[in-house]
């Protein structure tokens, strides 16, 4: 009897496997991402994570076309047109920056194509501008900042000094922090985008009497700020989203980053099987630790592959439904979409630590559990 049951189970598994193989259709995916110029490290990570998942998959009918947008919105629009009109792709993905996403995504989904965002999550596309063919596999832009606001409450900060570059994502960041943070503000400062000298701001921080500093300064700006902050001798604790403390950047910040708390939906040491396999195989394939962006690229590819297992990409309704259920092993653990096709997910607090010679992050707490973004109600879906 036991044998029979075992046999029945494996037979069932076989038929399931066979049936899923029967449905595992091909697709042509267009990836527009930043591979040259400033900020190309992020695009390279997304691409490498994405291609790792594609190469690990059994589905050999997936074709990926990759092009470099050089972080120029006009070029991204042109590549999107080319991929749709000339390459005839079914799915687009890859864009890193919100301003490029805003240039490309509305017209792509208006033409009936699918777009899966592996990084940018502008609020317009999460709220009133949400679209059934647009899926965000990373986060809504405000999420990580909101988590830091919640964390500041949890540890009892009462007087934060907050700063970000003077552009929309910077304003979203401070708005996100303030949405959850309940204490007072010792100062709120917008710096020039691309600024690399923060001496004046650090002097103001010292004079402000703040008990904590929250900053969002992506890329080189964050590196410059952290180094100068560490050298200034100001010892007010610093908080920030993962972007300024991620694997690609930590090496350049150096020990100045040690001990800083940052928020992220993913970390190297997140304890689940999919993640352990991902971190190990990424290191093996590329010889470096994966970053947040690589994990998002990896998840995006696996989401697409999982949907292709169940539905034909040409059958838009079925494929959309298959994406929406999100039945794949995310490296973040549980993963599901809210009504606006943005993730509902845990956001953790990480701390920068030194593992041997390498700076990396380890999870020290949970900031927000199964967090939904603030714009979901505005979305009509």
């Amino acid at each position: 009897m036991r044998h029979l049951k075992k046999f029945a189970v494996s037979a069932l598994a076989l038929t399931l496997a066979a049936s899923s193989m029967a449905y595992a259709g091909g697709a042509k995916i267009g990836m527009i991402t930043t591979l040259s110029g400033g900020g190309s490290g992020l695009g390279i990570d997304v691409r490498d994570g994405f291609m790792l998942a594609i190469n690990q998959s059994d589905n050999k009918d997936v074709e990926v076309v990759i092009e470099d947008d050089a972080r120029k919105p006009e070029l991204a629009v042109q590549i999107a047109d080319k991929m749709i009109q000339s390459e005839k792709v079914d799915i687009l993905t890859g864009i890193i920056w919100s301003n490029l996403a805003m240039a490309v995504v509305p017209s792509v989904v208006a033409q009936g194509k699918f777009y899966l965002s592996p990084n940018a999550g502008p609020s317009q596309l999460a709220g009133k501008g949400c679209n059934p063919n647009y899926f965000n596999v990373a986060w809504q832009n405000d999420n990580l900042h909101e988590a830091m606001g919640a964390y500041a409450n949890a540890v009892g900060y009462k007087n934060s000094y907050i700063l970000a570059p003077n552009y929309p994502a910077g304003k979203d960041a401070l708005t996100g922090y303030k949405r959850f943070y309940e204490g007072d503000l010792a100062g709120e400062v917008y710096t020039k985008l691309g600024a690399t000298d923060y001496a004046a701001e650090i002097a103001q921080i010292r004079a402000s009497g703040a008990d904590s500093v929250f900053f969002f300064l992506p890329g080189g700006m964050g590196i410059a700020f952290m180094k100068q902050y560490a050298a200034s001798g100001v010892d007010i604790p610093v908080l920030g989203p993962a972007f300024s403390f991620d694997q690609g950047i930590l090496g350049a910040v150096g020990d100045a980053a040690l001990g800083v708390k940052n928020s992220s939906q993913w970390s190297n040491d997140l304890d689940n099987d999919a993640n352990k396999a991902f971190v190990a195989s990424f290191q093996e394939a590329y010889g470096r630790l994966p970053s947040l962006y690589a994990s998002q690229g990896f998840d995006t590819a696996n989401l697409i592959l999982s949907a292709l297992d169940g539905a034909d990409v040409k059958d838009a309704d079925a494929f959309r439904a298959a994406l929406k259920v999100a039945e794949f092993d995310s490296v973040r653990g549980d993963f599901r979409f809210g009504n606006n096709n943005h993730p509902i997910q845990n956001i953790y607090v990480r701390e920068v630590v030194k593992d041997g010679d390498v700076l990396t992050n380890k999870i020290v707490g949970l900031a927000l559990e199964q967090h939904t973004d603030a714009y979901a109600q505005e979305c009509g879906m």
């Binding site: 020039k192 000298d197 080189g220 180094k227 200034s232 090496g251 350049a252």
Partner: protein, 306 residues
């Protein structure tokens, strides 16, 4: 703003100005002597920073890196001068702009090809790390203070070089009358290469000094380049003295503007909007300064022959 904070911001402005001066000095020297506009000056700055970071990482010594930055940038400058720039002296400025713009593309992508797309690590040396307490109890980073000192020394050194040495005499003669010094038997080709390499070395040195404070990455030279242009336009193209005055002016105006404008707007609007609009206006401040200077002194503060 308290007096101590104001003084600190003034120091910050000076320090920012001094780093601009290191960039602008080479740019203006090359223009003054050879009449060449060099957009690739920012790329030499980047080469200096990368060389310093690479050597510091390999040897563990910031000081060796600093030496490497000057050597590498001067060497790269000499190669560029001999292979490309030399052909441009007799061309109009348009060709110079285009050719040096092409050099930016080549050097940036080449650098990315060699060093990859991720920012490199470069930190201030241990003995200059941390703050020092200034008279009045104000803590201030030693490294920034030393940038101000070094910038002053470089300015003095350049002055002595041009006023007191044989090379300086030739440089001044080259500015005044190109044919004559050739007639006097000075090898003008070598002189030009030396001047260009000197300017490049200064840019590389600036890149390394600033790289330790900021981030060493591809494209880091471009924003500084445009600021350096503003500086030499204000100071008077070709004039080292003008570059020094203008860079301190730009540094101080920019720093004080970005600190005080948001709080000024805060007097009549809510803090969040005031900060945002104040910083929008302050990011335009130095260009307004430039426009004002041009209205009254189209040739810049210190005219080239002055």
């Amino acid at each position: 703003m308290t007096a101590a904070l104001f003084f600190e911001q003034l120091l910050n402005g000076m320090q920012f100005g001094v780093t601009l001066f290191l960039m602008a000095a080479g740019l203006t020297l090359v223009f003054g002597v050879m009449g060449l506009i060099n957009l690739a000056h920012g790329s030499l700055y980047m080469i200096g920073a990368f060389a310093c970071a690479a050597v510091a990482a390999a040897t563990g010594s910031f000081w060796l890196g600093l030496v490497a930055s000057i050597v590498a940038a001067a060497f790269a400058g000499a190669i560029i001068e001999v292979s490309v720039i030399r052909r441009l002296y007799d061309r109009d400025h348009l060709d110079q702009v285009l050719a040096t713009f092409a050099l930016i593309l080549i050097i940036s992508e080449g650098c990315r090809f060699v060093f990859g797309s991720f920012p490199l690590f470069l930190d201030v040396p241990a003995i200059l790390a941390g703050p020092v307490i200034l008279p009045g109890g104000l803590p201030y980073p030693i490294y920034r203070l030393s940038i101000i000192v070094v910038g002053g020394l470089v300015a003095l050194g350049l002055y002595l070089l041009i006023a007191k040495t044989r090379l300086g005499i030739r440089i001044r003669a080259g500015e005044a009358d190109r044919e004559m010094i050739a007639a006097l038997g000075v090898d003008i080709r070598t002189l030009y290469t030396i001047v260009f390499a000197l300017g490049a070395g200064l840019a590389g040195f600036a890149g390394a000094m600033v790289g330790a404070l900021q981030s060493v990455q591809v494209g880091m030279g471009e924003p500084v380049l445009i600021l350096a242009f503003v500086v030499i336009v204000i100071g008077g193209i070709g004039s080292i003295k003008g570059a020094l005055i203008a860079s301190i002016l730009v540094g101080v105006v920019d720093t004080l503007g970005r600190v005080s404008l948001p709080s000024m707007f805060g007097l009549f609007m809510d803090p969040s909007a005031a900060s945002s609009i104040g910083s929008s206006i302050s990011s335009m401040l130095i260009y307004v300064l430039m426009a004002v200077v041009l209205i009254f002194k189209p040739e810049g503060l210190v005219s080239q022959n002055g």
